[in-house]
Symmetry: C2
Subunit: 649 residues, 2 copies
């Protein structure tokens, strides 16, 4: 995963029991580093000390690597990432026009290694692989919750494993400015809360990502989402200056930068100049989203300036601002990227539009002549299942009717992880394994759409990512352990935890406002966004309607849920981390009972009146309410069975 463009599998396996005999030609230092990494990962995955050259050890199979060029010093969008991988009796051959292809090929090879009856093996195969899109990104918001470097590094490793190639860091927002500025040290001292990356650290991180075929695109969000700038430079606020960094959803004083002051552009020139030198990538992201016009409307000076300059509304004012900022970005040698609010026909055509508001703005941007990247549909913080992201294709919907030339401007997509409710210990569990499904959508041919194949490969990916030290499974386990008592049978909480999911979309905000001080140590934080068990049970219930053979298995599930509350309940009152689970546990129990009754009705064949069914469905709904920022993800199974009860005339 992601599935390659062309695979031809042959019968047979190549034994890989000793360190391969490696011949390497071409490429640059990244190819050597990738090979070292491959050997290290291979050792970790297999538990075989492949990475040490013991004298007298017999050679393993031949591994011939040919890289036709050395690649660019600063990785570019336009570079060729294809590779050819052949595993045969004679050994392994990997060829690529560019170091990036070699990196991708080695990741594929690592995925092919498996335990055979006589030892570790690689199946005979011929792979010709090339990505569908050149921009395959992940955005992480490091402003709302700062993410330490080790969290970024291990997730870069994970990105490389699924062939993603852009890490977009959302480095400034109302909550903090997260990278050291030497030219404007106030931004670091006053606007970071002490949580920021030094320039040296950032340089190291960029090098780390480059070594893995990943570009780092920085974002400094202006003119909205810019309270951190204004904490350091209050005189540049539109209207009243903020009281301090935003720490809670309740803090509603969030003025944008004042686009009518020259000092604003002077500051931006200084900081962007510094940051454009720090981040070598060709693109520089200036945000531009969600500007709240009320601050401009209410500021007499701004209104007067607009009138004097014949700027008719807030949109026109933002366009003026964006054009000024674009010139600053360009002056320091970069191309500007921004969220789709910046879209305006007067921007230079080398600007890049990131569509977050919907597929329409993606098509609009492409039509207007801009390169564009899709993020709508790839927001991981909305807690959607992997299948939902997997179904989002940048080329369908409004894009489908574009001309070939317009389509060519859609260069990829980017998953987005906003972190209002994500601390470093939660991060991996929000990203993985769902990110693998998005990575496949962006790499693999359009025709690769089999959801059940995707899920089975996602499960393998999820297990393999543990070897990269990703904490999506273990972090979740540890957090569940925190909620349990030492003397509590772990299966009880697990039964509940595996049937629930965090509420979707922006529903959490309604019951638990975002606040940097609020502990994120609840069950809703510990569980993965998508319950594998629920997916399984929901599918089983659909089958059970017509297939009696699976009903016993369903009964086992339903019985387990029905019984669970009585055993779990006594433990819930004793900890504030468990108390909020009381209604959820009761509801699950009730759903178990309802499910069993529905199965009884189906199996007995006794007709159920419309009224009775309506009552039962109402009862299902009553037990499906959100509690403790979670929903019960197995409700569809129970509902499907109730609806399938035989109807009386």
């Amino acid at each position: 995963m992601p599935w390659p463009s062309h695979v031809a599998q042959q019968e047979g396996f190549l034994a890989l029991d000793h360190t391969p005999h490696i011949e390497l030609a071409g490429g640059d230092e990244r190819v050597h580093a990738a090979l070292d990494r491959f050997m290290r990962n291979l050792s970790v995955r297999t538990g075989v000390p492949f990475d040490r050259n013991f004298p007298g050890t017999p050679d393993g199979p031949r591994l011939v690597i040919r890289c036709a060029s050395s690649g660019l010093r600063v990785q570019k969008l336009e570079e060729d990432e294809s590779y050819h991988l052949a595993v045969a009796q004679t050994g392994i051959e990997l060829a690529a026009p560019n170091p990036l292809g070699i990196m991708h090929g080695l990741e594929t090879l690592l995925q092919l290694v498996q335990a055979g009856p006589r030892g570790w093996v690689v199946p005979y195969v011929q792979i010709d692989d090339v990505p569908r899109f050149a921009w395959r990104g992940l955005m992480i918001d490091v402003s709302r919750h700062f993410m330490p470097l080790d969290a970024l590094r291990r997730n870069i490793d994970g990105m490389a494993a699924v062939k993603l190639n852009v890490l977009h860091l959302h480095l400034s927002d109302d909550e903090g400015f997260r990278v050291e500025s030497k030219l404007c040290p106030k931004l670091t001292q006053l606007a970071s809360d002490g949580l920021f990356y030094t320039q040296a650290q950032m340089r190291e991180l960029i090098a780390y990502a480059r070594d893995r075929g990943i570009r780092v695109v920085p974002e400094f969000d202006v003119p909205g989402h810019a309270v951190s700038w204004l904490v350091a430079y209050p005189q540049l606020a539109s209207g009243p200056a903020p009281h301090g960094l935003v720490r809670s959803q309740r803090d509603d004083l969030r003025p944008p930068l004042d686009p009518t002051q020259e000092a604003t552009y002077k500051l931006l020139d200084k900081v962007f100049g510094e940051m454009e030198a720090l981040f070598p990538d060709a693109y520089f992201h200036i945000g531009g989203d969600e500007v709240n016009g009320k601050y401009w409307d209410n500021d007499a000076n701004i209104q007067a300036w607009m009138h004097a300059h014949n700027i008719k509304d807030d949109h026109a004012l933002q366009t003026y601002f964006t054009q000024r900022v674009q010139k600053i970005v360009q002056k320091h040698g970069k191309q500007m990227e921004g969220w789709d609010e910046i879209l305006d026909g007067n921007l230079p055509k080398d600007s890049l539009i990131q569509s977050w508001r919907g597929a329409q703005s993606l098509a609009d941007a492409a039509k207007a002549g801009y390169k564009t990247v899709l993020s709508a549909g790839y927001y991981l913080d909305l807690m959607y299942p992997a299948s939902q992201h997997y179904a989002v294709d940048p080329m369908t919907g409004p894009s489908a009717t574009l001309s070939a030339e317009e389509k060519s401007r859609i260069i990829g997509g980017e998953a987005a992880q906003w972190t209002e409710y994500v601390t470093p210990e939660i991060l991996d569990n929000r990203l993985w394994p769902r990110l693998g499904a998005i990575a496949e959508r962006l790499w693999s041919p359009e025709s690769v759409t089999d959801v059940s194949s995707m899920y089975s490969r996602l499960a393998v990916l999820s297990r393999n990512l543990k070897w990269l030290n990703l904490q999506h499974i273990e972090g979740s386990r540890k957090m569940l352990g925190r909620i349990e008592d030492d003397d509590m049978p772990p299966a009880l909480l697990e039964t509940l935890a595996t049937t629930v999911e965090p509420v979707k979309e922006y529903n959490r905000e309604k019951t638990q406002v975002y606040d940097v001080e609020a502990p994120l140590n609840h069950l809703a934080d510990a569980i993965p966004p998508e319950s594998d068990e629920a997916r399984q049970v929901n599918a089983l219930a659909l089958r059970a309607v017509h297939d009696p053979s699976v009903r016993q298995e369903l009964r086992t599930w339903f019985t387990k849920w029905r019984e669970n509350d009585a055993q779990l309940e006594p433990y819930l009152a004793t900890s504030m981390l468990r108390q909020p689970l009381v209604p959820l546990s009761k509801n699950l129990s009730a759903l178990g009972t309802l499910g069993l009754a529905a199965l009884d009705a189906i199996e007995s064949g006794q007709p159920v009146t419309a009224e009775k069914r309506k009552e039962q469905l109402a009862e299902v709904d009553a037990n499906a309410s959100y509690n403790a920022e979670m929903l019960i993800a197995v409700v569809p199974a129970v509902r499907a069975l109730v609806e399938a009860e035989p109807a009386s005339r």
Copy 2:
């Protein structure tokens, strides 16, 4: 854990929902570091962002810390490690004469934090705590398998959590010399295989340990276990020089240093001088164990020299060597430590004897006037259960009859982890949680001996150690995951894995010789040394003999085992990691059947003939054989039930 010397628990709890209001007086920089660490660990354990000072956050409870002195620059054996901890309505008070006591007190406080119905709390308590022994150590052999710094660091964190205070690094052996020598770079270049700590890394590690109240005692083993020295300096071998570093148990050319050459002492003086400067601790361990006299017996030059110097046998020759080495160690300002083979009345009385051959040598050393430390009984590589280590007390057995003065020379104990079969990914699972039981033996009063209390607290410790990133549980899970197939129900292998243990003592060597190239990725490597489930079932079986109420639970276990093989077996043939498990799985199934039959017999009351019972016991034995370097740990349960069958006259 370890249980304190004096605890007076009171009713009630102190709320700990916000960052404590801290008053700190006295101590040195280590107290500040310990406090920062405490706040960090508290945040990690609770999931509450305690470590950030948000403006406007209400203060939590008062935490008053008073440290009466600043402690020594180089931590010494003789320093006072006691502390007084009081938690009351008015807040928390922690007082100690020395920073070490503050560190220990903060670890105790962290263990007291728990989730209450309304928030995080600490129970009201008065603790006066002082260690029973001043030397509470752990030895790790980093020569046979090199352990990376992060593995050492996280285990130092674990040691601090259970109040251990000596990390003894076995830095050189036949397999490699693991610390950089600048004066004799050949030792690094030729005798380390590229796997060594630089001096800068070692200095950092020592500072890291010091910050956590832990001394680092280096060991360079001479004159035996010294092949690595001889790879660099072959001319100093007794007899023929080795071919290279030892890589396997089969390499049997392992000459000791030649004690008759002056060049030997010149080299030792140079290297020990360098290492004594690098390692600040007062003690310097010179090994001295297991010298193979045959090399001296067979070397004509050595024999001639012995004759000329009137040295009558190998023991006398080693004594001569040890006395020379002691002078070198002393010259550079240190006290010598060695394994108990060095024991000889003529050594200076400030030498320290580490007893590994038995409790007798401990008593002998104390009697002869030497300080001494017990390791016999604390060898973690022998795979004994925690209870067995817990029962070993330095003051019982031959020590019990010593005079008070002699007893005072027994200054503690040291767990030992030899690493023939331990890679970095296995290390934590070998040390933890059993090491907690040894730590308690060495810290807590002699009267603290309740095994069932120990096990229940050990389980809590084991869970808490995960927050320090110790990999004893997760590492084991990952290794089990490697053995499983992606499409294999995980419960099948788990059922087998939780009923088996690695073979004990030195039995593994008999079927799988130690070899640095041999992958340690088998089930025997993945499982913990002690099976919690087996302990539980074995105890249950003893009860079931007289208590019918627990028999149903036993039947559930036995049935699970009986059924498991049929489901697991089809998966075993397809991977070389699972194939060796075929007989083990069959045996477990047979034991399940035997257990059920024995329960039937007990419940039916039908007498069983002596012959029949003998047959059944033979069958138990037949299914108890070692397989794949493992034993089935639930055999005692089945045997106990067979033996309890009603006998016919």
